[in-house]
Amino acid sequence: MTISSRPAGRSVQLMATCLCDAFFDSVAKATVEVLEHAGCDIEFPENQTCCGQPAFNCGDWPASREVMRHTVKVFEGEKPVVVPSGSCAAMLFHGAVLEFEKETDLPAVKHLASRSWELADFLVNGLGIQSWPGRFPARIAFHRACHTRGTGSGDAALQLLQSIQGLEVVPFGEAEQCCGFGGTFSVSFPHVSSSMGCLKLEHITAGNPDFVVSGDMSCLMHLGGLAERSGKPVKPLHFAQILQSALHTHA
Amino acid sequence: MSTARENIFSSIRSALAPLPSRTPRPEIPPGAAEPCWLDRSADKMALFVQRAEATGTRCFTDPSACADWLRTQNVSKVCVPGPLERLKSLCGAFAEVVDTYRRADVDDIDAAFTPAAGAIAESGSIILSDESTPDRLAALAPWHHIALVSRSEIHLTIADALAAHPDDPNVIWVTGPSKTADVEGILIQGVHGPGAQACLIV
């Protein structure tokens, strides 16, 4: 999928993701406000559920395809589909294509793939927004979510964050390492997953940031849960929430 | 014998037959694998010396400086092949000199000179071949190995050296002294091959 070939109009469909649906309504709200500030007209298809990634990652591709077929139907049309999660976006533009490689409805899946954007990637590389107004006086550690490797998302989110007044990005060690979430991996390999997460938190908290920020609530739910359990002071925050707060100071 | 061969080839062919298309051979752009710091107009000899020293190969241009170094290393028996009379007399001043390498002497000879087929500036490597370096053991077993590199045979890059590969059953690029990091990642030089690698540019 070449990035330039994806549609980037200001009339968009929002995929809120199942995690935001269940736990993180504040992140989905922030996403809406951020997109509206960017001048977008947002359609929220009511029948959306999940991208099917849990089943895909478990190897149950027939189950995952069932969910993806539903998703393809829900998000029909030509508008860009914007997702505030690197991993759900990657499921749409990469995973789905992989699991439908031998299916007859591959073209429909590819059509959705070719319209799908992770939020930061959409703002910067789709809409051409180069900086973000407002203030957010805090020190943050930015965790580049693994599913955004090889895409423009990580750099895009950092670019916007760094343009916000008062915000300081604190670098940390072994930044390329995964947080250990990995979906069902976190429950089928609980020891390995937590060990990875603790290591990540150690690196992150070494620089005493106020927040650990990412574009994926899945990583943040895991890191936040570990931090809370182990009494580490760092709080998780989606980058859209920072953009939203900055907007409020601006207005 | 031939059945194994036929078996393998037929499995390969039937594995590849269903592929709708096959990956074409990529064009390798000239200089594709060159490091960005490489300056094509650089002096090959100067670059070679810089890179060789960086990998732990000592470079000499003056035979007596090279002999002085061997003396400070307390070398006692040196193999200097063929007609290298000057080196023989320089080394003869402090060590026993032999002109052929014998297996029986493997524990006694602690330094050997061998002619090289060339060198690579980009990586600081010495090129040895069967043609240029008659005895593989002589260039490998002694603690000190000194390759005799001719200035005119230094290639600028790895790609250049590959393009000019001598027609020889055995070519080896030597980039620094023999080493290992197997024990706790700690670097130790001189595992099986030379612990001290040098070259004398002539």
């Binding site: 309504d25 190897g59 992989l98 599913h147 849960g225 | 077993a141 590969h165 059953p169 990091a181 099986h192």
Partner: protein
């Protein structure tokens, strides 16, 4: 609940070993990163080019293998083919027996591990000594390598000193330099006594027939200097079109494996030594081994055959760093092993079908792979195959109910709303087997199912 095998192994791993594996791997990742980034403006472009060279090579394997065979013949080497591991072992011992060879020195080769060559030679009464320092220690300990480039990453100097003492290589001494010197003088004798040297090959150039061997210690060079017979065991997938391709591949291999521009010794061999030379083999045999590689070529995971065994994916892998190599229960550990090992297992695929699951799918392996293998995609395909073949997968939640829910929007919305009840009960008391492992080390945020939907609706009705 039954546990995943890699998880169990990691949980029981000695913390000292885990730390050693982690630190050594992390150092390797850092070295690779700084030399590649320092030397190339766009290392990813070079990786993609190398990936295409290798993909092209394996997709034209019939042509190039035949060409390599001809080139080797032309230079006086004998070429053999072996379909199975067993055939390959037989080929080696046959050559040795015909040559009257009783003593063999071996340089590190993954394929010889794969076919269990040393065990086979021992049954034939042939002495075979591993000459790579790490592999030698593995051999005397009756152990298995836990990393494809750093075989004893799981051992410390004290372990090694004890093994050397036991083998009569001197009194206990754990100084790495002393250990190395002792190995040096011990190996000297072995090289000089040996009748044959066995090596692998990192690449084979079809055009010239040259086998390329890279090492740092110089042991493979010694195996090709002292003995009179050279046997090279080579996986059929190692062929590349020509010497020119090596400029790309060698520049990536050293940097990816050990953070070096080139390893110390890079050797090119396409025949026995020149006649009349005092050292070097009189006979050269190349055994091309299939051992299921053609089966992998036929599968939808053929990209794994691009692998040049650099070990970068092991170093960067967070699961490998936690679990170490033995957790993978096979010759190839880490991400490459999680793909390759179940494929090489053939009918025993199910026994290793858990390996592709031992990954958070973070993709770091693909990012460092010098030949750009899409390892996460291959892991996913193998998970799907494991599911189709009903391979056991402890701890993996069944997905049927989820799929049903997630494709029925009404039910989904009801579940989102209804699960709010979760906030009212102590979660750690709930009999949900897949929730408890999560809660052991983490908290779960408050369930707010449906809140966003309501907010969205209220905005629209405003």
């Amino acid at each position: 609940m039954p546990e995943q095998k890699v998880e169990l192994f990691a949980r029981r791993l000695d913390p000292g070993v885990q730390k050693a594996v982690h630190d050594n791997s992390a150092a390797g990742t850092l070295k690779r990163y700084s030399i590649l980034g320092g030397d190339y403006d766009t290392p990813d472009e070079l990786r993609r080019l190398a990936g295409q060279i290798r993909q092209h090579s394996i997709e034209h394997l019939d042509t190039y293998l035949e060409q390599a065979e001809k080139s080797l013949h032309r230079h006086g080497a004998h070429v053999h083919f072996a379909v199975t591991a067993e055939d390959a072992c037989q080929a080696v011992s046959g050559i040795l027996e015909r040559a009257g060879a009783r003593k063999v020195v071996k340089s590190k080769s993954m394929i010889s591990e794969e076919i269990h060559l040393n065990d086979h030679l021992a049954t034939r009464g042939i002495e075979s000594v591993e000459t790579d320092l790490g592999e030698y220690i593995i051999q005397i300990d009756g152990d298995h390598p836990s990393h494809i480039v750093k075989p004893i990453i799981h051992k410390n100097r004290r372990d090694i000193a004890r093994s050397f003492e036991r083998e009569g290589l001197g009194d206990y001494n754990d100084d790495p330099e002393t250990i190395t010197r002792r190995a040096r003088s011990f190996m000297r004798r072995k090289y000089l006594e040996a009748d044959a040297g066995i090596t692998g090959a990192n690449f084979v150039s079809a055009e010239s027939g040259r086998l390329v061997l890279v090492t740092n210690e110089g042991n493979s060079r010694f195996c090709l200097a002292a003995p009179r017979v050279h046997i090279a065991l080579v996986g059929i997938e190692k062929v590349i079109p020509s010497d020119a391709d090596l400029a790309v591949l060698l520049n990536l291999l050293g940097r990816s494996a050990t953070g070096q521009q080139l390893t110390v010794y890079t050797e090119f061999i396409n025949g026995p030594a020149l006649t009349g030379r005092p050292s070097g083999p009189r006979e050269m045999h190349v055994i091309f081994v299939d051992n299921r590689r053609s089966e992998i070529l036929a599968s939808d995971c053929r990209e794994i055959l691009r692998c040049i065994r650099c070990g970068a994916c092991l170093n960067v892998c967070p699961v490998y760093r936690q679990a170490s190599g033995h957790a993978y229960r096979s010759v190839y550990p880490g991400p490459v092993g999680a793909v390759l090992s179940p494929l090489l297992a053939g009918k025993k695929f199910k026994e290793l079908a858990d390996l592709p699951k031992a990954s958070s799918l973070c993709g770091a392996c693909n990012e460092v792979c010098p030949v750009d293998i899409p390892i996460p995609d291959l892991l996913l395909k193998l998970r799907n195959r494991g599911h189709e073949e009903h391979a056991p997968s402890p701890g993996t939640p069944p997905m049927g109910a989820f799929a049903m829910l997630a494709s029925s929007p009404l039910l989904w919305r009801a579940a989102m709303q209804g699960s709010r009840a979760m906030n009212l009960v102590p979660l750690d008391k709930l009999p949900l087997p897949y929730l408890q492992p999560w809660l052991k080390t983490r908290t779960l945020p408050e369930w707010r199912g449906g809140s966003f939907r309501r907010w969205m609706k209220s905005r629209h009705s405003r």
